[in-house]
Amino acid sequence: MLRNKKIVYTAAIGLVLIVVFVPLPSLTLKGKGVVRSTMAPAERGASSVWQRLSEATAALRGIGGAAEKNRDLSHELVRVQAELNRLRDVEIINIRLQRALDFREASNHAMIPCDVVSRNISGWWNTVRIGKGFKAGIKENRAVISPDGLVGRTTEVSPQTSEVLLISDPACRISAKLNRINVFGLVRGAGSTLKGHPKARMEFINKDAEVRVGDEVVTSGLSSAGGEFPKGVHIGYVEKVYRDESGLFQYAEIIPRATVGLLDYVFVVSEAAMEDAR
């Protein structure tokens, strides 16, 4: 009996160690998909309860109806901003085409609106979970934007939910450029301040570029982590500029403008949705 118990314990410990240390991404994602799908209805329920509570509180404060109107207007705003970004790109492209005749580029993305249903459970990652997954056409490494700009990118997409790695997470790396001087770099998350505001860093900026505090940082449109990011989406503004220890590059601390709360909604940029829209 005692021997059997020992065998069971040893086997259980062995199994746990295999699960933890042997990388099996597809199996892990399937396992997580089961847990997340089980919890998704409860998360949505809890999220809608919170939403109703916050709307009821707002109504009690005398601004009833403003929440819905605000949401609709913000939906409209993000679409208009995306259109504006596209037109801005088109304008820049036109100018460049006049200079270099062979240059041609087009950017056209559709967006999938999603509700944020929960935050990260441990606090070790800067992520939020959105209430749509690959059944809604979401894929990994897609840009996630809000009316304020880039929020992050999708990761670990399950059938009904997707994790969004926020721009402040150190694992989130996005190809970006300084809009004023058209200099490229890589934006990487740097956690958050003591007040909870997200921080990020733009690295590998050309050492000769004249970077100024307050310069706008936008997505470059180059492929990031195998995904596709739209061009010209606002990320944030430069707060401080430093020279790299090697002296080969500069890096800048940036303040991302888009912060996302539990009851917010975001848009996932999707090629599939664009095709459907056509």
Partner: protein, 169 residues
């Protein structure tokens, strides 16, 4: 069976609550260890079968809802459950001092295991200042969480009707 369904519901609600709570930048961004506290609560008060049920349900939920590989809770929670279950007859489980001590211990242990796994597997960059902040913060968060979780679960369980020989009372 009803007992386990109730435990499952409590663990699910705790997971939702832990997710909804904001992270604490002052403590390195970590959250109150509600699921770990619940695991400890059940390990100190229930039989072996219920303890393992609570341990694995809470661990799978915590790791399943988090990103990265399965691991931190899948290693930490069984250890917490196993050792606390072994010493359950030698401690005053409802004493405030015991709960503060256990709360600090589970907070610190869970954070330490998470740190170890994330660093060993390269999922999170190791930063000494942030790691110290998280370890230190987890002690305080654990101490604050366990007594509250215990009090809530005890109050809820006392509020539910209990089945005795004569039926429901």
């Amino acid at each position: 069976m009803k007992q386990r369904i109730l435990m499952f519901l409590m663990i699910s609600i705790s997971a939702l609550l832990q997710q909804s709570l904001p992270s604490w930048p002052l403590f390195g961004g970590i959250k109150p260890p509600i699921l770990a506290a619940l695991t400890l609560h059940y390990a100190l008060r229930r039989n072996n079968g219920d303890m393992w049920f609570a341990v694995f349900t809470a661990a799978l939920m915590r790791d399943g809802l988090d990103i990265g590989s399965f691991g931190p809770a899948l290693i930490a929670f069984p250890v917490i459950g196993y050792f606390s279950h072994r010493i359950r007859n030698e401690v005053f489980t409802d004493g405030l001092v015991s709960q503060l001590f256990f709360g600090a211990a589970i907070g610190l242990f869970t954070t330490f295991v998470t740190l170890l796994i994330y660093t060993a597997t390269g999922q999170r960059p190791f930063q000494f200042r942030l790691a110290s902040l998280r370890l230190f913060g987890s002690i305080w968060l654990g101490m604050a969480t366990l007594p509250l979780v215990s009090l809530t679960i005890n109050a809820l369980e006392n509020a539910l009707p209990k089945r005795r020989r004569y039926g429901w009372q």
